[in-house]
């Protein structure tokens, strides 16, 4: 037997919250690993702080710990569970780092736990730059040339050895690498090296050859204990070196290497994985190749599954994480069957007969102050992948998958007009929209040479883009629908068909064709179908059709044969959420996966449609059929017409599928669950207000304005502060809290797109109100509350950014009853079949309805884990016609333990942005802290979303005037907890007046050492800083950013500070205990 019998219990470490650089790909890998290990009969212990993951569903592991991923916590789990081994390669950098900490602090040795997959030595060698470089040179591979200089003369000597400019200069031990730069000539070198040497405390700079503009490649490699090695997928980056691979458009397989070059890269990859010593599992190895000489250098390797390996799995159909888990417990590649072909072993290299394009998704609109230039530090928050028979088709499909209102590369009605100068800059400086600007450049007649000079993007890619642009121009000259009166009349139907088919093969959307025609999308669609130009669906089969494939994983293309199969079962189609972005993340994928599981249980054939390669929903194992396709009306209707499912689920995938609901309904598609009209009622201000009036529910006074004066009039009537926002947006985009008329006038002046059908909404803002979220399920007869969640932050902070607690801790029974009955009344009125989320504000004893969303909400996974009931699954069954009574869920569960959800923010990635919270959502992910003690549950949530709460030290307080009163009792509490209190003059005086012992510290302009110095010196361990307004004072932002950089916890609301005090008190009193989900819900 190949399986390792020395092991019985394996601890798997997850990757924690979704952050930039660690998305839901590690839920996908973790789920695969859990399934693979349990299939082999191992007991799986899981730790992950992220409740929105499928892997933390209690049925995926024997013990599921939703606990912070810290060495202390993991050791506590090891102590309780006594696992034989830890598999650290499935949870990204977080898991690797945690495992290394446990190795270094001796915990692994103490508890006799071994690492499987990759050992500590291999991890260290793969991760440490110097060790890695030495290892590469040892096996005869090339690395970027470099040397260490202690003088300018040294620097020039090294420069001569390297032999070419530009050179990167990195001073040693300066904060964030400051003082470095790029030298393009010897004069630059003298200047930058001189400056760097001066700034470096050890008078040392690293001179390294620059690889900017080189071609970049990635290899996804697997190895087993018999030393069998395979390449699962090769990837070529569209954006050359200089842009992080996570921010690059990437293409699989490699396009511009000959077989000789490719095979050498393959040999080098195996040499790397062997030298680093990854015994079993997958690794990602990155290479740079000089475009003129072909010189190949190794950049880095990741001794674990990664974002790229998730992409490679989806691109080829080869489940890297699953296989890696099996290899870790002793199997060899030839002992594992390929799921897709069934007959052939996993010990082979997938060969594909299509082209895969991944495009990153950015959300710079949320962080306007952030530098939007793409660099070697990753900034994207998600990605979309598309498959086509050609690069052109795949690229255009990927671009329309992005959910940025683009429907192709060019000519989709969203092209930006820019002058040549701007265009040149947009090509030369990498940015999120560069690919569109390249299209623009070709449209304006730029040559491939010119675009290459500016971008260094390989000419093969550029030529393909130029072909798309050319076709777009042809479309404009000869419209395909052929019936436009003023336009060119096509001679015959056949020519139209040929041209349509040609455009479709290049990936053009109906929207693009419609724009070229001056027709509308629906007309083009009708014409296209009449001409019999419809997509065919192909299998992703790992083998380029050499063998029969059994796994129904499809993509569309315009070819001769349709490979779609019919099962004869009743069918349901589930629309996924598309690329991750802020406001639309893993939570919705979680819900879609649950829908697939639940509906399969009911005997449906489940059909998943999604374009996000990171997710569990796009695992071919999750549903009965997977369509890896853009979530546009055209693409979804195409699949609908093929499959004719009995129903389509649109309410689980977040805003993306909801936006399609009306179009689908209009096309006669049966929508499962709550109907689009109800969604309309909830989203339309007037209809919604009328409904609340009818039900006698309280709402905040509000109005909608199409002009500045109208807005001011409304605000005067309802009173300041007011919350203003454009209608129809998700995630609180462009929402602002306004305290006075001048600010309101400024907002209106800057407001985007104010038209009579798109007014600005003005709401009375309830200050110091408690915000409450409710998730419920309704089957039309019964409505059951999933949970009532009390926010830590006061109303006005976006609910996705607030910490919240189940069960509520400060609300009276009367208020809870009112919330409950209001929720039920609304569910009935909206005729909800499935999930509904309501947000309330509670001021005193008054309950106000803020908004209602008759769909799955971001909090569904959190609630499900807190109460131990899979809400999304139940909701899916209800949508298919089951009653809650039949499903056994008829009354609200109020757990005895506390569950705290905390948001996680990307501020460190976006230098220069302010960390204060508001109505616009900014968080990328969430964590959950659980404990029977509320304080500890909160403390755990902070530990899971670092920095953790301190147990002692100095507290710096700086609050806005309106908070100066409420801060006094809190300051007393901190004193009692043993904290020293530091404040600047205003707050200090207020505290001193209340006879609180406080140390005064200089404001920034008052002298030194000032508060910023104290923060940087580590004299301050905790900060309470409530922002003084929408436009914060400069020094506030500096203090907050310094705290962020120094990893000092900072609370920006009084309620969060209060929760922190409680948490610290609990931490001081009790030792941290861990407990699994299974235990919580069996008591």
């Amino acid at each position: 037997m190949p399986r390792n019998k020395d092991l019985t219990k394996i601890l798997l470490i997850g990757s924690g919250p979704i952050v930039i650089g660690q998305g839901c790909e590690f839920d996908y890998s973790g789920v695969q690993a859990c399934k693979a290990l349990r299939e082999e009969g191992y007991r799986v212990i899981l730790v992950n702080s992220n409740p929105a993951t499928i892997m933390t569903d209690p049925e995926f592991a024997d013990r599921t710990y939703i606990e912070p991923i810290t060495p202390e916590v993991i050791e506590a789990i090891i102590d309780r569970e006594k696992p034989d081994a830890i598999l650290p390669t499935m949870g990204g950098q977080t898991a690797l780092n945690a495992a290394m900490e446990l190795y270094r602090n001796g915990a692994l040795a103490r508890h006799k736990v071994k690492l499987i997959g990759a050992n500590a030595k291999a991890i260290a060698k793969g991760e440490d730059r110097q060790l890695f470089k030495e290892a590469m040179l040892r096996i005869g591979l090339d690395v970027p040339r470099s040397g260490i200089a202690h003088s300018v003369a040294d620097a020039h000597k090294i420069s001569k050895e390297i032999g070419s400019f530009p050179l990167i200069i990195r001073p040693a031990f300066t904060l964030g690498g400051s003082g470095g730069g790029i030298a393009y000539n010897p004069d630059d070198l003298s200047e930058i090296a001189g400056r760097g040497l001066a700034m470096s405390p050890v008078n040392e700079v690293l001179i390294e050859e620059s690889l900017v503009g080189w071609k970049e490649f990635e290899m996804e490699v697997m190895r087993d204990r018999m030393d069998n090695c395979v390449v699962v997928c090769s990837i070529e980056n569209f954006d050359p070196m200089g842009v992080h691979t996570g921010d690059s458009i990437t293409v699989a397989p490699v396009q511009t290497l000959t077989d000789k070059e490719y095979q050498m890269m393959r040999d080098a990859s195996f040499a790397v994985i062997r030298e680093i010593g990854v015994e079993t599992g997958g690794s990602n190895i990155q290479f740079a190749v000089h475009p003129d000489t072909g010189r190949m250098v190794v950049i880095e390797m990741n001794p674990r599954v990664s974002r790229s390996s998730a992409l490679a799995s989806k691109a080829t159909g080869f489940p890297i994480a699953k296989i890696a888990a099996k290899l870790a417990v002793g199997y060899t590649l030839d002992e594992i069957k390929n799921d897709i072909t069934r007959e052939t072993p996993a010990c082979f290299e997938p060969t594909i007969d299509y082209c895969v394009v991944k495009v990153p998704r950015f959300t710079f609109e949320k962080f306007p102050q952030a530098d939007q230039t793409l660099t070697t530090q990753m900034k994207s928050v998600g990605e979309a992948m598309a498959i086509g028979r050609t690069f052109k088709e795949a690229l255009q499909k990927a671009l329309r998958s992005l959910e940025i209102k683009r429907f192709g590369l060019i000519g989709d009605g969203a092209d930006k007009e820019v002058d040549l100068e701007t265009l040149r800059l947009k090509l030369a400086i990498p940015n999120a929209e560069r690919v569109f600007y390249i299209g623009q450049a070709f449209a304006k007649g730029a040559s491939i040479e010119e675009v290459f000079e500016l971008t260094k993007i390989d000419k093969w890619f550029l030529r393909n883009i130029q072909q798309i642009v050319q076709e777009s121009k042809n479309l404009g000259r000869a419209p395909v629908s052929g019936d436009r009166k003023s336009g060119f009349q096509h001679p015959g139907g056949d020519a139209t068909r040929t041209q349509l088919l040609h455009a479709k093969k290049l990936g053009f959307s109906d929207r693009q064709l419609a724009m070229a025609d001056g027709a509308d999308e629906i007309q083009v669609r009708a014409k296209r179908i009449a001409e019999n130009v419809t997509p065919t669906y192909r299998l992703v089969d790992t083998c380029a059709a050499e063998f029969e494939a059994y796994t129904p994983y499809y993509y569309s293309t315009y070819g001769d044969e349709n490979e779609r199969r019919e099962s004869g079962k009743p069918k349901v189609m589930i629309l996924g959420g598309g690329p991750n972005r802020i406001g639309q993340g893993i939570e919705f994928d979680y819900c879609c996966v649950h829908a697939a599981f639940a509906l399969r249980e009911l005997g449906f054939e489940t059909i998943m449609v999604n374009s996000n390669p990171e997710t569990v929903s796009t695992d071919y194992d999750t549903s009965d059929k997977l369509y890896f396709e853009p979530l546009t009306l055209e693409d979804v209707l195409n699949i609908y017409e093929q499959e004719k499912p009995d129903g389509v689920v649109v309410q689980f995938g977040g805003q993306t599928p909801l936006n399609l609901a009306n179009g689908l309904k209009a096309a006669g598609v049966p929508i499962f669950g709550t109907q689009p009209e109800s969604i309309e009622t909830a989203e339309d201000r007037k209809l919604f207000a009328a409904m609340l009036d009818k039900l006698g529910l309280r709402q905040t006074p509000s109005g909608s304005a199409v002009s500045t004066d109208e807005a001011v009039g409304i605000a005067n009537k309802i009173g300041y502060p007011v919350l203003v926002r454009p209608s129809f947006v998700l995630g609180g985009r462009a929402m602002e809290l306004v305290y006075n008329e001048p600010d309101l006038r400024r907002y209106m002046a800057n407001a985007i797109e104010v038209t009579p059908d798109r007014p600005v909404l003005v709401d009375r803002f309830l200050e110091d109100a408690v915000e409450v979220d409710v998730d419920c399920i309704s089957d039309g007869e019964t409505t059951v509350i999933g949970a009532i969640m009390e926010h830590i932050e006061e109303a006005g902070i976006h609910s996705g950014d607030s910490a919240c607690v189940i069960p509520t801790f400060s609300l009276s029974q009367g208020v809870l009853d009112e919330i409950s009955s209001a929720t039920k009344a609304m569910a009935r009125e909206l005729n909800v079949r499935g999930l509904m989320n309501v947000q309330f504000a509670v001021k005193g004893d008054d309950v106000y309805v803020l908004e209602v969303n008759p769909r799955a909400s971001r909090t569904v996974p959190f609630v499900s884990k807190a109460i131990g009931v899979p809400l999304a699954k139940l909701a899916a069954k209800v949508m298919a016609g089951k009653k809650l009574r039949e499903l056994g869920f008829t009354s609200e569960i109020v757990p005895k333990h506390f569950s705290v959800k905390e948001a996680v923010f990307p501020f460190l990635r976006y230098q220069g942005t302010d960390i204060s919270l508001g109505p616009e959502m900014k968080s990328t992910g969430e964590v959950m802290g659980m404990d029977v003690d509320l304080g500890l549950a909160f403390a755990k949530s902070q530990m899971a979303a670092p920095p953790p709460l301190p147990k002692k030290g100095n507290l710096f307080i700086s609050v806005k005037d309106t908070d100066k009163e409420s801060i006094i009792p809190l300051a007393r509490e901190f004193l009692k907890l043993g904290f020293g209190i530091i404040a600047t003059s205003g707050t200090a005086d207020a505290l001193a007046a209340a006879k609180i012992k406080v140390k005064k510290v200089f404001k920034l302009h008052e002298g030194r050492p000032n508060v910023l110095d104290r923060v940087k010196n580590g004299d301050i361990n905790f900060i309470i800083n409530t922002p003084s307004g929408k436009i914060p004072r400069e020094h506030e932002v500096m203090i907050r950013n310094a705290a962020l950089a120094a990893k000092i916890p900072i609370m920006t609301t009084v309620r969060a500070a209060q929760a922190s005090a409680n948490g610290i008190r609990s931490l001081q009193k009790a030792k941290l205990q861990v407990k699994s989900l299974q235990e919580y819900h069996h008591e």
């Binding site: 077989d259 095979q263 060899t332 072993p345 997938p350 060969t351 028979r389």
Partner: protein, 380 residues
């Protein structure tokens, strides 16, 4: 210009012509390698065949003079989904289109090559006609049906060298080339020649010759019709049997030569050479439904248990039941368990069905050339 691909069973594909104009008939087969179209085109084993690549984007990196596997392309016709208009690679010297024009080979693009591949997979290998001429579909199907196939065909005589020659006597063609250091002159030096071998050219790929030289062999390449006596007159340390096209059963003269050589010198055979050896042992081959052609075929070494990912190009396989008891199967294909290697239990003879020389394909199996050297050393 329109081009038509018609199969003998009536299936046809209309596309766009590239490369040369004209009409060609031959067995059609598919290759699943994603890179290496130039090596495929110039591999003599494809003599007589029309080849389709399952990877849809072909021509991306053009053609260069270093990646030739013989002095000219051998395929009868080339079938792809999309021809790259602008090759991009620092070594590219010519576009694929121009290259096929130069050697008068017609190509067809813009057809659904996956549909074609699925057809061949389910119906099996068959003959096809590729034409750019004015011809009805029925006529083209007729031409395909009437054409010569592979069964019973001796294509070896078309590709074998007409006369004996020394491979690379000046050590100019064999030095390993590396992208690590770019195209510079810093290629590693070749080792001194330790052994002399006679290589039977049934359609030999140049990379075999390069690798033999890199492992310290001096190689005398001889025509396929060379008798055992003539070969032994060269006084070689060993005999090498190359790859090649066509039906191994159709080469009785080669079978006889090998029977005469067995036991006299260590022998190593690749691909067609391996199949000819099977006949010399008294065994036989059978035609595979659609062959193995690609760069991702898993082969297990039954002795070590290790798996190599290999390059393959064969339409026939050795029937293991037909082999005498003193010959053992040493390697099998993990996809279909067919024979991928044999070893004589008593004599210094071994062979592999696949391509340890790769080109195109992975280098996992290149150790066979060293094994050959060890075998000779042991016997010498």
């Amino acid at each position: 210009m329109r081009a038509l691909l018609a199969l003998e069973d009536g299936k046809f594909f209309e596309g766009e012509s590239f490369g040369a104009a004209g009409t060609r008939v031959g067995e059609i087969c598919f290759n699943t390698a994603m890179t290496g179209y130039q090596e495929v085109l110039t591999d003599p084993s494809y003599r007589g065949q029309i080849v389709t690549m399952t990877y849809p984007l072909i021509g991306n990196y053009g053609i260069n003079s270093l990646d030739q596997e013989s002095h000219e392309p051998h395929v009868r016709g080339f079938v792809i989904e999309e021809l790259s208009e602008a090759p991009s690679n620092w070594r590219s010297e010519m576009s694929l289109d121009d290259y096929l024009k130069k050697y008068d080979i017609p190509g067809i693009q813009g057809i659904d090559t996956r549909a074609l591949t699925r057809h061949l997979r389910t119906r099996g290998a068959m003959k096809a006609c590729l034409t750019t001429e004015q011809m009805s579909i029925a006529q083209a199907v007729q031409r395909a049906a009437e054409g010569e196939g592979v069964i019973g065909m001796d294509y070896v005589k078309e590709v074998s060298t007409p006369k004996i020659y020394q491979w690379d006597p000046e050590d100019k063609l064999s030095r390993p080339w590396s992208i690590q250091n770019g195209n510079g002159d810093n290629k590693p030096k070749l080792p001194p020649i330790r052994f002399r071998v006679v290589a039977y050219d049934y359609g030999i790929k140049q990379n075999i010759l390069r690798l033999l030289r890199q492992k310290g062999f001096g190689v005398t390449v001889v025509p396929a019709s060379t008798t055992a006596e003539q070969a032994l007159a060269q006084n070689p340390d060993g005999i090498f049997l190359s790859n090649g096209p066509g039906d191994p059963a159709a080469l009785p003269y080669a079978h006889q030569t090998l029977r005469d050589l067995m036991g006299k010198k260590p022998i190593f055979g690749i691909c067609l050479g391996h199949q000819i050896l099977a006949f010399a042992f008294g065994g036989s081959t059978f035609k595979l439904k659609f062959g193995h052609r690609g760069a991702n075929q898993p082969v297990k070494d039954l002795k070590s248990g290790k798996v190599a990912i290999t390059a393959q190009n064969h339409g026939f396989a050795v029937d293991p039941q037909s082999l005498p008891t003193n010959v053992e199967v040493s390697h099998i294909n993990l996809n279909d368990n067919t024979v991928e290697g044999m070893r004589h239990k008593e004599l210094p003879i071994f062979s592999v069905q696949y391509h340890p020389e790769a080109a195109p394909g992975p280098h996992d199996a290149s150790y066979f050339f060293s094994q050959f050297a060890e075998l000779i050393e042991k016997k010498g």
